[in-house]
Amino acid sequence: MEQTSRISLRPLITPFNMILGIIIAMGCIITILRFTGGLAAVTHLDDNNPWGIWIGFDLLCGVALAAGGYTTSAACYIFGLKRFHAAVRPAILTAFLGYALVVLALHYDVGRPWRLPFPIFWQQGTTSLLFEVGLCVFLYLSVLFVEFTPAAFEWLGFSKIRAFIVKLTLVLTILGVVLSTLHQSSLGALYTIVPSKLHPLWYSGYLPVYFFVSSIFAGLSMVIFEGSLAHKYLHHKMDETHIKEAHGVILGFGKSASFIMAGYLAIKIIGLSVDNNWHYLFTDYGAWFLIELIGFVALPSFVYAIGVREKNIRLIQWTSLWTVFGIVLNRFNVSLIAFNWQLSSAERYFPGWMEIAISLFIVAIGIVAYRLATHFLPILHEHPEYQAH
């Protein structure tokens, strides 16, 4: 008996799991500090910088990288590209966890988290972009939850309710695309209120368009990246269909991401030209802007194209990680690095170690939840009683 329990516990104690455990334990302690001592006890936020890394990383990057849910389900159910079907459930799971963790992170960031439902149920600020973002995230998280439930119902054996939810798939997908279009762009639109604070190279009237278009290739890249990790570490959980369709998903999504990134590069140049901001390119911020635009948009787009032409799966997988970094860099630039650019360095924001630890804590919870879900639920394989293929 004792030997059996030791054997079943052994795979749990790995270096990666131990690091995850340390991060989660540290996060729990900082959580207590945050909710007993307030924001000042754990953050470097002040009146000049009321939004820090919990907004720049947890919210902006979290929402952009969770866009794989609506892009994959739209590709499969709206555009009829059924060859991507195997990627839908993992993408929906990633999106659901991503949005759930965005809402969790918001509880840390807002001063009075128990008032988060107020804008939805008590007092609607219908002229505020933040209200629109809040409403869309609330509704989209609910849609993702419903989209995710068939996997849980299959596991639980609730076939009737599962069949009812599956009939709603197209409606839920359309709702997902509409709500995502609204709030992905509104997150960019939030920054149009600060033309004097955001550097002109990043400030643009097209910010909502930039955020929306970049979310599409962020989501596609995240699906490729997350799929690559799943193939490496959760291969034993995958069925034959999933393994067979994986290369097609990587090539198809790589091709789409490459072309959309080229389009994104084009509209960024148009934005630069419309505002006549060329002269800023010859400053320090200009060099940083070019690093972002050429190093993390133009080059990955081209490398994706090379990978697709040569059917080089490994190259596309690495490029997806490169693109994910690019999206994180872009959101950091808009919300932190190019924000308050005219202030002296003493007045600028740099996150405290406890803020970074909470962000890592949120990511760690996501990894644990993903592993638990893929362990118990038919995410990377089809349930034998409900096979679509």
Partner: protein, 47 residues
């Protein structure tokens, strides 16, 4: 480096003029990029 504009008309004529030229370039570039991206795809029968 920075051009000085005395009227909004001057500014818009300048910035829009350059933008339209860039948009023309993009209209040529994007289809070419699509061909580059797809020219090794297996040909599908479309009849």
């Amino acid at each position: 480096m920075e051009t000085i504009f005395y009227t909004l008309q001057d500014f818009l004529t300048h910035s829009k003029g350059i933008t339209y030229l860039i948009m023309g370039g993009i209209l040529v570039f994007m289809p070419l990029y699509w061909l580059f991206l797809t020219d090794r795809d297996e040909k599908k029968e479309t009849y």
